[in-house]
């Protein structure tokens, strides 16, 4: 005990105060910094030989709640995922226009049918004809526009994945760097700044992908995706890789076969050089990237399919004629004859039959596919997922196709027989005396390719991508339907000669006031039901949506609107969770200026008191020296 020890204690107190002020200044100045956790300094008494000799500054400690931090990371990934969904579905919803406005898709479709109604009432009016043509042009243009916008959104998602991958790699690189310093240098382990920085990088990563962080004994961390793939093994080197495809078309789709893939491939490259296909392996379950991938490969693709179905339905509703089927018998076998003159690639013949006993309804669909490379047809070739689909070349006419049709029907176990009694006639018969099959009906949809001379149906809309040829739903080469929404356009010949809206025959010439054609067009759009593929995601899953073209337009708007609302609701819920968690986290880890300042006052007082002690010691020493 002595003045010196008092002086030393006071000096250690001063030092401690200075350290505290230093820390308070750090806390105050970083009050708003991202990833900064409040730090505290707990002074310790300095014990020398069982005696307190002063105060030690102690270690700087980060104040944070590990559990909340972990939850927050999980929920941040979820929020990023729902946020992406909300952003994209809202944008998609906006593409269809403002409800009730003239630019909304349904309004434009309604004005098209209205123009046809007017045309049916005033068939010889040149104004009514031109208005119908213009309304059709507007409709085709609108469908093109929305489809282009859908692809633009997909390209946005693609680019956003690219940028997210970059950020993820930056985060991984900085985690790697900090982690190596923390593990290699024991003294650095308590370095709050480094730990904060590493947490910040991990948080960045957690927004992009759903991860879990496992702390290691050596102060390092390992990072896994929730699905169990290791993103960071404590040493590093794993990177995400993504080749951005700048322009996406409806044909550029994800395919498990990289050679057939039209979109960027996201993969994880391990330090050992192994590559993991993220999408194929289902690496991510949440987070920004997963949200973007789902938009690019599912939601927006589905929106495109809806538009394609709409465009195809619109074109074929107006262009397809349905030749009548006449009852036919051969011995005990009964069935139908149907004339397939002019059957186009992609056109189909549908046989509805019943298996007896039990009256089980079955369906077989024969589709004209001349290109053998396009065979066998996918199950999605028809809207009905349960029918037997037979792709057959009609290059040799009906006579040349009969054998292949028979082979398909036999292979499919239908028990039906086909024949070609004459010309382009196809005869479908049941099994006769065995009576295990009954044919309910045979129908065909044959696309008219000329404006006149083929009946009241006409190729009103054509495929711009195929040199303005009629849309027939061909499978030859590629599926004509995919991306048709981008290419559908008004038949230029019709635009050039609107009188063809009325005139369906030149010999004898259809009178200018004939209403057969416009009335048929209206019926086909608003009365006649069609099957729409379940791929469009409308109606029950796996079941085709049956309805009118006009109804399908409304279902698209309804479905997309509903999805946008749902995404928004989920996102709002997720944001509430994230907010609550970040509030809790901030409550623990955030800098509170008031408490810091209160500490400051204390420290200031302590400093003054220590200084006072030094002053007193000095006075005492002065007294001593003056003796």
């Amino acid at each position: 005990m002595g003045l010196t020890s008092a002086l030393n204690a006071a000096v250690s107190g001063l030092n401690n105060s200075q350290a505290q002020i230093d820390l308070i200044s750090q806390n105050v100045s970083n009050a708003g910094s991202a990833g900064y956790t409040r730090r505290t300094l707990t002074p310790l008494q300095s014990v020398v030989a069982n005696r307190t000799s002063g105060v030690l500054s102690g270690t700087i400690e980060r104040v944070y709640d590990r559990l909340v931090q972990r939850q927050l990371r999980t929920e941040t990934a979820g929020a990023a995922y729902t946020g992406v969904h909300t952003r994209f579905t809202a944008q998609l919803d906006r593409l269809y226009g403002t409800p009730g406005s003239a630019s909304a898709l349904d309004s434009i479709f309604n004005s098209f049918t209205q123009s046809l109604q007017t045309l049916a009432a005033q068939p010889s009016s040149a104004t009514a004809r031109v208005q119908s043509v213009q309304a059709a042009q507007l409709l085709a243009g609108t469908i093109n526009g929305i489809s282009n916008d859908v692809q633009a959104l997909r390209a946005d998602a693609e680019r956003a994945i690219g940028s997210a991958v970059q950020r993820a790699n930056q985060a991984l690189a900085s985690i790697e760097q900090i982690n190596s310093r923390l593990t290699n240098d024991v003294s650095a382990r308590q370095n709050a700044a480094l730990l904060d920085e590493r947490d910040r990088a991990i948080n960045d990563l957690a927004r992009i992908a759903d991860i879990k962080v496992v702390d290691q004994a050596n102060g390092g961390v390992n990072i896994f995706t929730t699905s169990g793939f290791q993103l960071f093994d404590g040493v590093g080197g794993t990177r995400l890789q993504f080749d951005v495809h700048d322009a996406l078309t409806p044909q550029s789709l994800y395919n498990t076969n990289p050679a057939l893939r039209g979109v960027g491939t996201l993969s994880i490259v391990t330090p050992a050089g192994a590559t993991i296909d993220v999408v194929a392996q289902g690496v991510f379950r949440s987070g920004e990237i997963q949200g973007l991938l789902e938009m690019r490969d599912k939601a927006l693709v589905e929106a495109q399919v809806q538009l394609d179905e709409l465009a195809a339905g619109l074109a074929r509703a107006l262009s397809d004629r349905n030749p009548p089927a006449a009852a036919a018998t051969a011995g005990a076998a009964q069935g139908f004859d149907i004339d397939l003159a002019g059957i186009q690639a992609g056109n189909s013949v549908t046989i509805d039959y019943f298996e007896q006993p039990g009256n089980v309804a079955r369906r077989a669909t024969i589709i004209r596919v001349d290109d053998p490379a396009s065979l066998p047809l996918p199950l999605t070739a028809t809207a009905d997922p349960n029918d037997l689909v037979i792709g057959v070349s009609f290059a040799g006419g009906v006579a040349g196709a009969v054998a292949a049709i028979q082979a398909g029907l036999t292979a499919g176990g239908t028990g039906l027989t086909v024949a070609n009694p004459a010309g382009t006639m196809l005869r479908v018969l049941d099994d006769g005396a065995a009576a295990t099959r009954d044919i309910g009906g045979v129908s065909a949809g044959i696309t008219n390719t000329a404006l006149t001379g083929q009946g009241v149906e006409l190729p009103f809309f054509v495929d711009r991508g195929l040199g303005n040829a009629a849309y027939t739903g061909s499978f030859d080469g590629s599926q004509q339907q995919r991306g048709f929404a981008q290419r559908i356009s008004l038949n230029a010949a019709l635009a050039a000669d609107p009188s063809r809206l009325i005139v369906f025959s030149t010999t004898p010439l259809t009178p200018a006031g004939d209403t057969a054609r416009p009335l048929q067009l209206i019926d086909r759009l608003t009365q006649v039901n069609r099957d729409f593929s379940p791929e469009a995601g409308i109606g029950g899953s796996g079941l085709p949506h049956t309805g009118t073209v006009s109804g399908f337009v409304r279902r698209i708007l309804d479905t997309q609107g509903g999805k946008a609302v749902q995404a928004q609701r989920i996102d709002e819920g997720q944001q509430v969770v994230v907010n609550a968690l970040s509030e809790r986290f901030a409550d623990v880890s955030g800098v509170k200026i008031d408490s810091e300042l209160a500490d400051l006052v204390q420290v200031q007082n302590a400093y003054a008191a220590n200084a006072r002690v030094i002053g007193t010691v000095k006075d005492l020493i002065d007294v001593l020296l003056r003796l």
Binding site: G100, N110, T118, A121, A512, G513, R554, Q560, N579
Partner: protein
């Protein structure tokens, strides 16, 4: 839009800012709603009921179309009705113009009545050529074509080789009257036997229908065989006053009787319809034959010629573009054995419109030629064609009256005129096709009343759909205003609180 709850709790600057921003966004949203009157600008924003509004909009659009179609159809129907009323009025006027006592020869061979009917014909044609904005109402499906040519071309021909009614009447007259104006009958005398026989053509002239005789000492063989022939053989002298009646059927189906009375007094025998009983059967036969010839010629030049003209006109008006009228095969016409199809190159086709009805046997009729779909499953026929039987018969009746002339030199003029007007008036009051212009007007009026009912229904529907759309898409102003007010209060309070809390920091109090 709903207001998310504000939970006062732990204050944190960033949270407070976020809440304020949210409140501000809600305020902006409400302001937008108040301004536009609409709940949302996207389909998502309409909420779960968006399908109702989408559906109602589609139905509203359809209803609007139907309404405009009804209005259009009503306009057509009204004009058609007016036209048909005019036609009926003209028919009545013609009926009285051609009254039985209207014979008053004029220098140009046409009576005042005929001239007024000619005026009526022009008016009827004008009425049938009515159009709405270039769409003709009596053309069937060919609504861009003026249905009826002008009366001059119809009657006189086009002057370029296409025959009009007049020429067809002339040709038919020649064919019906035959050589010597005997109505295509061959009259022979051999000793005391007079033979009268049809010439074997199926279409023209008289048909021998019956023969009754009270002549004594005479064998009257009624018409028999094919071609029909009859014979009268005088075995002796008939008594004075005894008669023989020959019934002839005209091509229009009416019968004409020729009665010949035996007379001993030469003066009485010189009257028409009498013959002199001669000294010998041969002399009687000669006298009988001469009297028969005179009577036949007279019947030919009056009733037969009148019937022939009416039939020729009816044939002319039965023609249309795809079924040109039949014409007498020839020349020579006097010996024509039947009809030959006319062509658009040699005959005026008076009706230029759509002739699917009646040319096409499967045609659904003139009314169906202009269907107006006034509701999803309700189609009314508002079509009409100038070549419908009712209108065609009227036109034919008018045209024959306008075409025929009665020169002063013609001794049979008055009788022929009366035979003609009788037939014309009959054709107008009981048309041979069975249909009258009134019937067409009646059918169209039925369509009109269906259209009126549909319009009332569409008006109701329209207001219903509008209310559905409004319920889904529109905001309730009171509700928005109330929300706005409460939001404003909360926002002001929040600003105030934030400001107070913001000032409440130790920093401000440390000196």
């Amino acid at each position: 839009m709903s207001i998310s709850p504000f939970v006062p709790g732990q204050f944190s600057a960033s949270q407070a800012t976020e809440r304020l921003t949210q409140l501000r966004a809600q305020l902006n949203g409400l302001q937008r709603q108040l301004g536009s009157g609409k709940k949302a600008e996207t389909f998502a924003g309409l909420g779960a009921q968006r399908y109702l509004s989408l559906d109602a909009r589609a139905k509203l659009a359809a209803t609007e179309s139907y309404k405009s179609i009804v209005n259009d159809a009503t306009l057509r129907i009204n004009l058609q009705t007016k036209s048909l009323e005019g036609v009926v009025r003209q028919a009545h006027a013609a009926n009285s113009s051609l009254a039985p006592n209207s014979w008053l020869a004029a220098n140009d061979g046409q009576t005042i009545g005929q001239k007024s009917v000619r005026g009526g014909l022009d008016e009827v044609i004008d009425l049938l050529n009515v159009d709405v904005a270039g769409r003709y109402l009596f053309s069937g499906r060919a609504s861009d074509v003026k249905p009826v040519l002008d009366s001059r071309t119809i009657i006189e021909g086009d002057g370029a080789g296409r025959a009009g009614v007049k020429q067809l009447i002339t040709e038919r007259r020649l064919a019906d009257l035959g050589a010597g104006d005997l109505g295509r009958l061959n009259l022979t005398v051999a000793a005391a036997t007079i033979g009268l026989a049809e010439d074997g053509n199926p279409d023209f002239g008289f048909r021998l229908q019956g023969l009754t005789s009270s002549l004594s000492n005479t064998v009257a063989t009624p018409p028999a065989g094919a071609p029909a022939a009859l014979a009268v053989t005088f075995a002796g002298a008939p008594n004075d006053g005894e008669t023989l009646t020959l019934t002839l059927r005209l091509p229009d189906g009416s019968d004409e009787q020729i009665m010949l009375t035996a007379r001993t007094d030469p003066a009485a025998a010189s009257q028409p319809g009498s013959f002199l009983i001669g000294a010998t059967p041969a002399a009687t036969a000669a006298s009988f034959s001469a009297a028969l010839q005179t009577s036949l010629q007279r019947a030919s030049r009056t009733s037969l010629q009148a019937a022939s003209a009416v039939l020729a006109a009816r044939d002319f008006f039965a023609g249309s573009l795809n079924a040109p009228p039949r014409r007498v095969a020839g020349p020579p016409f006097a010996t024509a054995a039947g009809f030959a199809a006319g062509t658009a190159a040699n005959t005026v086709i008076w009706y230029r419109g759509d002739d699917d009805f009646p040319v096409n046997p499967t045609s659904a009729g003139a009314r169906a030629s202009q269907p107006a779909r006034i509701d999803a499953n309700l189609t009314i026929g508002t079509g009409a064609q100038a070549n419908e039987a009712g209108l065609r018969d009227t036109l034919a009746a008018f045209a024959v009256a306008a075409a025929e002339t009665f020169p002063a030199a013609d001794v049979n003029a008055r009788e022929r005129y009366e035979a003609l007007t009788l037939r014309i008036r009959r054709a107008i009051s009981a048309p041979p096709g069975g249909q009258k212009p009134e019937d067409i007007a009646g059918e169209i009026a039925l369509a009109g009343s269906a259209a009126r009912y549909a319009l009332a229904r569409h008006r109701q529907r329209e207001s219903f759909f509008l209310s559905v759309i409004s319920a889904v898409e529109d905001v309730n102003n009171e509700e928005v205003a109330a929300n706005l007010l409460s939001l404003q209060t909360r926002l002001e309070a929040s600003y105030q609180t934030t400001a107070i809390i913001g000032r409440l920091t130790l920093t401000s109090y440390l000196r």
